[in-house]
């Protein structure tokens, strides 16, 4: 583990790696460019073909991938604190299931507004979970978790039903969407806006999140207004996840693995874990998407496959090395 004092330096390293991953994402593809060519193009001196390749084809996708990775990792981190459960991820409350069901329905019906449909589905699922999880004494993490998991299973059944009855021609598109697909990314301005806003909102609450992760009662006894904070992180995590899923399908593992990897590396202080998760999530997704584009080029793989293939061994190695769990 990196000592708390060295954590700011670790953030700088991550920042450097983030820049490097973005450059790699721009350079690699069906037609690889050198880093020098990429830099020249970025400052407006490259060849017209390179301009087209880098600025118009790759840049929106790479930037979008980074933002979505950051959103998912931050949402996962917040969900883990909200549910006081290290196994939580952004999708644990059935949000991605709701989004997927709506998106697949839209594809089935031939509606073109898939992003909007997925977003509405995610919000509907969020509201359902929250409404149903409120028992007589309000929701508790366990109640929320159970409601979400069961609802997710319900969405899963609906998704299977749609896949089973959909015309064969539409299946590859649906499966791609389900596994996570960044090829539709055009404008990442909104994604970046939401990401930056969320980070700015959460950074000053880092210490409060530390407290909340120790339990609601303990946090309240130490002076934290627990319910407002829980509402805030639930709604924010839902909004971030819904946005990410609507734009890129349900990309797995980023939201579960990245916050954990960061906790294993720099400890449990969320003032560090939050920025580190955002950077780590961005880096992982940019690299994964780059691999997805080049591994069997000119064909593309769904990026969700790569995040799992990359994330699982990295995480297992970190876990194996760590003595903190």
């Amino acid at each position: 583990m990196i000592t708390p004092a060295a954590a700011p330096r670790f953030l700088l390293v991550l920042l450097f790696l983030a820049g490097l991953s973005l450059l790699l994402g721009l350079a690699l593809g069906s037609q690889p460019l050198s880093l020098l060519q990429v830099t020249r193009t970025l400052v407006g001196q490259g060849e017209p073909l390179h301009q087209l390749l880098v600025l118009e084809l790759r840049l929106p996708r790479v930037l979008g991938a980074f933002a979505i990775g950051g959103l998912l990792a931050l949402a996962g981190c917040l969900m883990q604190v909200l549910l006081r459960n290290p196994l939580a991820d952004p999708y644990i409350l059935g949000l991605s299931g709701g989004a997927a069901t709506a998106a697949l329905l839209a594809m089935l019906l031939g509606v073109t507004w898939i992003t909007g449909a997925a977003f509405m589905g995610a919000l509907l699922s969020t509201l359902l979970v929250f409404g149903l999880a409120r028992g007589h004494q309000g929701w508790t993490p366990t109640r929320l978790l159970l409601t979400g998991v069961v609802l997710a299973a319900g969405w899963g059944a609906l998704i299977s039903f749609i896949l089973a009855t959909a015309p064969v021609a539409g299946l590859p598109g649906m499966l791609f969407w389900l596994m996570g697909d960044l090829s539709r990314l055009q404008h990442s301005g909104f994604l970046w806006g939401l990401l930056i806003l969320s980070v700015l909102l959460m950074l000053p609450l880092g210490r409060s999140l530390n407290l909340l992760s120790r339990g609601a009662l303990q946090a309240a006894a130490l002076g934290l207004a627990v319910r407002p904070l829980e509402w805030l992180i639930y709604l924010l995590a839902a909004l971030m996840t819904a946005t990410a899923v609507a734009h890129a399908g349900s990309i797995g593992f980023v939201g579960l693995i990245v916050p954990h990897a960061m906790r294993l590396l720099i400890g449990g202080d969320h003032r560090m874990v939050i920025p580190a998760s955002v950077l780590g999530g961005g880096i992982l997704l940019v690299l994964a998407d780059t691999l997805a584009r080049i591994l069997i080029a000119p064909q593309q793989l769904p990026v969700g496959v790569i995040t799992a293939l990359l994330g699982v061994p990295i995480f297992l190695w970190l876990l194996y090395r760590s003595r903190n769990l």
Partner: protein
């Protein structure tokens, strides 16, 4: 600054009790209260109610003259701290980080922990004999060490009113005595200590006041010497007790059985 927590016809919402006695008393600076009663009498519920973590069934609480419900969480936590019976550790964290969390009520949103906060935290660790474990992970501690860490966190919080739910849990004998000496020092400096205990003799030795919670919802309270009497205690626990005097101290022990228990 003096501390007072006034219970005004307070009825804690104790599960299973239809009509517990209303409590009318004031917990004040310098006092050490022991709450005694059998399992399920509502000691923990009462303590959580006093901490403002649970709504009362009826009645009111006033902290330093202001209704408890009108206090904001942070200023409240500067005045009132609670030791829970159990600690939950879902995520790995270090001993030092845990004890520093006690400084939360004293820090503004944008403020970082200052050198003074670190010193308070380290001092609390030292008082609980945990200095050597500062960089350890919390989930690697033994039960007694975990309990001492929770106490150290409460010390770092430095409230004036201390609510302690079975503070001697998991503690070995020397640490029990060390803790009570420390609490006595705090009370002498003007803090108010309220704790639930199962050990009548620790209550007899260290408390100034006693609150007895009977299983049927009755409650008696007052100065230690008026309350710690044999008939009341025997009735409280539903078990005959005997009193032994030793060096001006009263010791209460379960009466030796007159009837043979093992049927063999």
């Amino acid at each position: 600054m003096s501390f007072s927590l006034h219970l005004d016809a307070l009825v804690a919402d104790i599960p299973g009790l239809t009509q517990p006695d209303a409590l009318n008393l004031t917990l004040e600076s310098g006092q050490i209260w022991a709450i005694l009663g059998p399992n399920g009498a509502g000691k923990t519920t009462l303590l959580h109610t006093l901490a403002g973590l649970r709504p009362a069934r009826s009645g009111q609480l006033q902290l330093n003259g202001k209704p408890l419900t009108r206090w904001q969480r942070k200023p409240l936590a500067q005045q009132l701290g609670i030791l829970f019976q159990q600690q939950s550790d879902a995520f790995a964290t270090s001993v030092l980080a845990e004890v520093l969390s006690g400084r939360f009520p004293w820090l503004g949103t944008w403020q970082r922990e200052s050198q003074a906060d670190f010193e308070i935290a380290l001092e609390a660790l030292q008082q609980m004999d945990l200095s050597a474990l500062a960089s350890r992970q919390v989930n690697q501690l033994s039960g007694g060490e975990r309990q001492r860490l929770a106490l150290a966190t409460l010390m770092a919080q430095a409230p004036q009113g201390w609510l302690l739910d079975e503070p001697t849990n998991h503690l070995d004998l020397p640490h029990q005595i060390q803790l009570f000496d420390l609490l006595q020092t705090r009370a002498a400096k003007g803090d108010c200590i309220v704790m639930t205990l199962h050990d009548i003799n620790l209550a007899a030795r260290y408390a100034t006041h006693v609150l007895l919670l009977y299983p049927d919802g009755q409650a008696c309270w007052g100065e230690k010497h008026q309350q710690l009497v044999l008939p009341a205690l025997s009735q409280l626990f539903g078990y005959p007790l005997e009193k032994i005097e030793h060096q001006d101290q009263w010791l209460f022990v379960p009466a030796v059985h007159t009837k043979q228990h093992n049927p063999s």
